[in-house]
Amino acid sequence: MGYSLNYDREEEHKVRTGSDSFDVAIIGAGVSGANIARRLSSYELDVALIEKEADVSFGVSKANSGIVHGGFHHNKKYLKSRLEVRGAAMFDRLKAELDFPFERCGIVVVALHEEEMRAIEQLYEQGVDNGAIGIEMCSRDRMLELEPKLSPDTVGGLYAPAGGIVEPYRFVFSLVENATHNGVQLFTKFKVAHAQHNAEAWTVSAEDGRTIRAKYVVNAAGLFADEVSKIFGGEEFAIHGRKGEYYLLDRMTKAKTSRVVFPVPTTISKGMLVVPTVEGTVLVGPTATADEDKKDFATTREHLNEILKSGRALVPSISEGDVITSFAGIRSVLDEDFYIDISNKAPHFIQVAGIQSPGLTASPAIGEYVKDLLKHDGLKLVEKSDWDPFVRRVPRVRDLSPFELDELIKKDPAYGEIVCRCECVSEAEIVEAIRRGHTTLDGIKYFTRTQMGRCQGGFCTYKIMKILMRETGMSWDEITKHGGSSQMLKGEL
C-alpha cells in the first residue's frame, strides 16, 4: 500500500505513471520536499518525490508547533530569516489554493520582568528591519487587552499581527496531493540506499531494490540529510536532533488563548509557547534537548513537568486536568542557518539541510529558492499551460451549519455517520482520507483529526480499522499505526 493517486476517480488526471526516469528526484516528503515538489509541478518536468516512511509528513513535519512566524526572531543576515519573511507572506494564497487549516491569529511575546523588555525592544527593531508587517511594542495594558489570559505578571511585550497557526501535516498533505495531481510521482517506503552518477543522470536505489533515474537530485531528507548527502558523495556534515516535547490540551480548556503566546527567547530556542491550534485545541511546549538518537520520540516525566511550569508562567490557567496527550518532535539542526545550496562535490545535487525553525514558515519560499537554484544549475523550466493550483475541498462536518450538513447528507449519507464523537468526524471524511492514500491509522488521524481528541481513539479506533479494511481490502494484519512494523492487531479469533 502506498500513496495512491485517486485524486479524483471521475477526472482523468495528468499523472504519468510507470516511468522510472525523471528530471528531478526530491528525497524527503516533509514540508520542504513537498513545497519543492509542488513548485516544480508547475513546469514541464518529470518529478519524483521519494519518502522512506509509509506516508508523507511522517518525519520532522508531523510534530512541531505549527506556527507561521512573525518575522522578528532572526536577523536578516541569515538566509532562514529572509526565507521566513518571504514564506510567511505566501500562506494566504496557498490556503486559498490548497484548503489546509491556517489562520493569522497574531503572535504576542510576553515580558514578565522589566529587564525582559530590553530583549523585546531588540526583537521589535529586528522585526522592523526584516519588514515584518504591523509589528508593535505593547504596554502591559495593551498586552492584556490583546490576550486577557496572560499572567498578571506581564509587564509588556511585542505583538506581531501577521503571525499565525497552521496544521503542518495537513499543509504537507495538500501540497503533495496537488503536486501529484499535476504529475509528480510519489514513492513511499522508498529508503535510499545507493546512488550512482553516470551518463548525465543519477541512479537512485532503494533498500528494497526499486530504482529510479533522475538528472537532478534534491536532498530534503530532514533529520537524515547528512546520511543522504554521504550516499551521493556530497558535502560531509552532521545533522543533530533536538527534541521538543509538547502537551496537547482539550479544546474545552480555560487556557485557550486567542493568539500564539511566546516567552522572551533564549539563545538556543524560541522558548516554550502556548499555541491555540487552528483546530481549537491548545499546544504547550516545546522543550529543547539535544538527542543523538534521531528515532527517539519518547517523552520524559521531567520535561513534561517543565512544560507545565513554563506554560503556566505565561498563561496561569493551564491545568493538568486538560491534558489529552503528550508527544515529541525532533528538529533537524545543522548550524545556526539553513544550508540550501548547489553541492560543490556531487553533480546536479541540491542540499536542503538543517531546516529547523522557522522551516515551516519559510517552506514555500524554500520551494521557490530551490527552483531558482535548479535553474541556475542548468535545469530548463517551461511553465505548464494546464497547471492546476487547486486541491478538491473535503467538507468537514464540524465546520458545517446544520442546514449545510443536512444537504450534504442527502448527497452522501456517510456524512451523517459520525465516527469520531470528540472531533466530530464522519465516515465520509475517513473514506476521503483513505482514497487520497492515507492508509495508516496515523495518516487517517492527521487527515481527519479522528483519534486526536479527548478520547484519543478509545471509541473510534476499531471503526476506523473496519472502514480501512472495507475500503482497501487490507487484511487485519496489514493495519499499522504508522507503517513499518507498527502493526495494530496480533491475531484473529
Binding site: 496537547l248 474545552m252 528515532k295 527517539d296 520520540f297 519518547a298 517523552t299 520524559t300 516525566r301 520535561h303 513534561l304 493538568e320 491534558v323 489529552i324 496527550t325 503528550s326 508527544f327 462536518v397 446544520p402 442546514f403 450538513l405 443536512d406 447528507i409 442527502k410 449519507p413 456517510a414 456524512y415 451523517g416 455517520e417 459520525i418 464523537r421 470528540c422 466530530c424 464522519s426 491509522l441 479527548r454 478520547c455 484519543q456 481513539g457 478509545g458 471509541f459 479506533t461 476499531y462 480499522m465 473496519k466 487485519w476 499499522t480 499505526k481 504508522h482 513499518g484 512494523s485 507498527s486 502493526q487 495494530m488 492487531l489 496480533k490 491475531g491 484473529e492 479469533l493
Partner: protein
C-alpha cells in the same frame, strides 16, 4: 431539515437512558431516545461476562442479556428510539431544549420540554495520566481491547501488561488469558485496587496474574510496536527510581478510570461537580438548568449497572414530575464531611424517601458512617469495610429528616470515621 417535538428526550440509549425513558413513557409522556450507535444497550453489549442484574432481576446475567431485557421493553413501548443518531449540538429555546442531531437520514432538530442526560462515560487514556515514553502501536484502553476481542474478533496483542486495576482492566486480564495471551502484570499506583474485590479474586488470583500495588508506570518503550513498560515502586508517596524495573510486553491495556462524557452538558450550561466530573443535581436529579436531568455514569461513575438503572428510573420519574409542575417545597443541602469524596444527589427532599450514593476517600475496616442534620447526629451506620472502589448507598426518609423543620437553610453532613 426535520423538526420534531417530544415531551422528553433522552441522550444516550444505554442502560441509564433506557431505564429513564421507560419510566417517563409509563407516565404517559412522549419520549425519544437519541443513540449514536446503531443499536441500544451501550457498553453492556460488549460486556459478555456475567455478574449483571443481581439486584435488578435477582439473577446473574451477561451484559448483552441485561441490555436485551431493557431493549425488549423499549421496543414494546411507545418510545421512539433514534439509533445511529449523534447529537451534535444542544440549545435552549425559551422553555424548550433543542437537540441538533445527525444520522444518515439527515439532520433533525428535536424539541423537548425535558432532557435526560444519559451519555455515560469514557475511559481515561494515556495522555490523561501522563505516562511518558514513546508512542508505539499496541497501547489500548481496556474497553477498546474488549470491543476488539468480544465483538470484532481480533486479538490486540499477545504479551500484555495492564496499567490500572479498574474493573474493565481486571475483566480483560481474564479475557486475554482465556484467548491464549499472557498477562504479565497489573500495575496499580494506589496501595489498594481500584476494581471490585470479586474481580480481583476471579480475574487475577484465579489466573496467577501478579498485581503490583503502589507502583507507577514510568515509561513505555518501543518505536513501532510496544516492547515493554517500566514500573517504579512508590514509597511514602515518592517514586523509588532505584527500584524501577522493566516488564517486556507487546501490548499495554489502560484501565485507569472513567470520566463522565459531559461535553454536551457543558454546551447546555450545566455546572459540573469537580469531584465527580458529573453535574450538580438537586433532590430530583435535576441539574442547574431547569428541565435538564442527569443519571447513570454521566452523573457519576457507578460500580454496578443495577445501581445505574435504579437511579435512572428515578430520574425519569422526576422529569415526569417536573413536566407535571411538581417541585419539592423544601430542600436540604448535602455536604460531604470527613473522609467522604462525594454524595449524590447534592440536595434532599424531606417530604419523601431519598436514595443517596456516595464514595469514601479511605480504606478502612469497622468503619462508621455518620449522618448529621444541622450538626445533630441523626444516624450512624456500621460498615465492616469501606474502600473508594465500592460505592455506598442508603436511604433517608421524612422521619430521619424531620429535624429540618423551622430551619431555613438545613445542612446534612455525611462523614466516615
Amino acid at each position: 431539515m426535520r423538526e420534531l417535538n417530544f415531551d422528553a428526550a433522552v441522550i444516550g440509549g444505554g442502560a441509564a437512558g433506557m431505564a429513564a425513558a421507560l419510566e417517563m413513557e409509563s407516565r404517559g409522556l412522549s419520549v425519544a431516545i437519541l443513540e449514536r450507535e446503531d443499536h441500544l444497550g451501550g457498553i453492556l453489549t460488549q460486556c459478555i461476562h456475567n455478574g449483571f442484574g443481581l439486584i435488578e432481576f435477582n439473577e446473574e446475567l451477561a451484559g448483552p442479556e441485561f441490555a436485551e431485557r431493557f431493549e425488549d421493553k423499549v421496543r414494546k413501548s411507545k418510545i421512539t428510539a433514534f439509533t445511529g443518531t449523534t447529537v451534535l449540538d444542544v440549545e435552549t429555546d425559551e422553555e424548550d431544549k433543542v437537540l441538533v442531531c445527525a444520522s444518515t437520514h439527515g439532520v433533525m432538530r428535536l424539541h423537548a420540554r425535558a432532557v435526560v442526560l444519559a451519555m455515560g462515560c469514557r475511559e481515561r487514556n494515556r495522555g490523561n495520566i501522563r505516562i511518558p515514553g514513546s508512542r508505539p502501536a499496541g497501547v489500548y484502553t481496556a474497553g477498546l481491547a474488549q470491543r476488539l476481542v468480544n465483538i470484532e474478533g481480533y486479538i490486540p496483542g499477545r504479551d500484555v501488561v495492564i496499567i490500572g486495576s479498574g474493573d474493565i482492566g481486571l475483566i480483560m486480564a481474564r479475557r486475554m488469558s482465556w484467548v491464549g495471551c499472557k498477562v504479565h502484570a497489573v500495575i496499580e499506583i494506589q496501595p489498594y485496587p481500584s476494581g471490585l474485590t470479586r474481580n480481583i479474586v476471579q480475574c487475577l488470583n484465579d489466573f496467577g496474574i501478579p498485581l503490583y500495588l503502589s507502583h507507577q508506570t514510568t515509561n513505555i518503550y518501543g518505536n513501532e510496536r510496544v516492547e515493554g513498560v517500566e514500573a517504579t515502586p512508590m514509597e511514602n508517596g515518592a517514586l523509588r527510581t532505584d527500584k524501577a524495573f522493566r516488564i517486556p510486553c507487546d501490548t499495554v491495556l489502560l484501565s485507569v478510570g472513567l470520566v463522565p462524557e459531559n461535553e454536551l452538558s457543558k454546551k447546555l450550561g450545566v455546572e459540573l461537580n469537580p469531584m465527580t466530573n458529573g453535574a450538580w443535581v438537586d433532590s430530583t436529579l435535576m441539574t442547574n438548568v431547569p428541565g435538564v436531568f442527569a443519571c447513570g455514569n454521566v452523573l457519576h461513575v457507578h460500580d454496578l449497572v443495577d445501581y445505574v438503572v435504579e437511579e435512572s428510573r428515578r430520574a425519569g420519574g422526576f422529569a415526569a414530575d417536573y413536566l407535571a409542575g411538581k417541585h419539592p417545597a423544601k430542600e436540604i443541602r448535602v455536604k460531604p464531611g470527613s473522609n467522604v469524596r462525594y454524595v449524590n444527589p447534592g440536595r434532599l427532599d424531606p417530604s419523601r424517601d431519598n436514595k443517596l450514593y456516595m464514595r469514601t476517600l479511605i480504606v478502612k475496616n469497622d468503619a462508621a458512617l455518620e449522618v448529621k442534620l444541622n450538626n445533630k447526629v441523626i444516624r450512624t451506620v456500621k460498615k465492616n469495610h469501606v474502600q473508594p472502589s465500592e460505592m455506598l448507598s442508603f436511604t433517608l426518609g421524612p422521619a430521619d429528616l424531620a429535624g429540618c423543620e423551622g430551619v431555613p437553610e438545613s445542612v446534612l453532613e455525611i462523614s466516615i470515621q
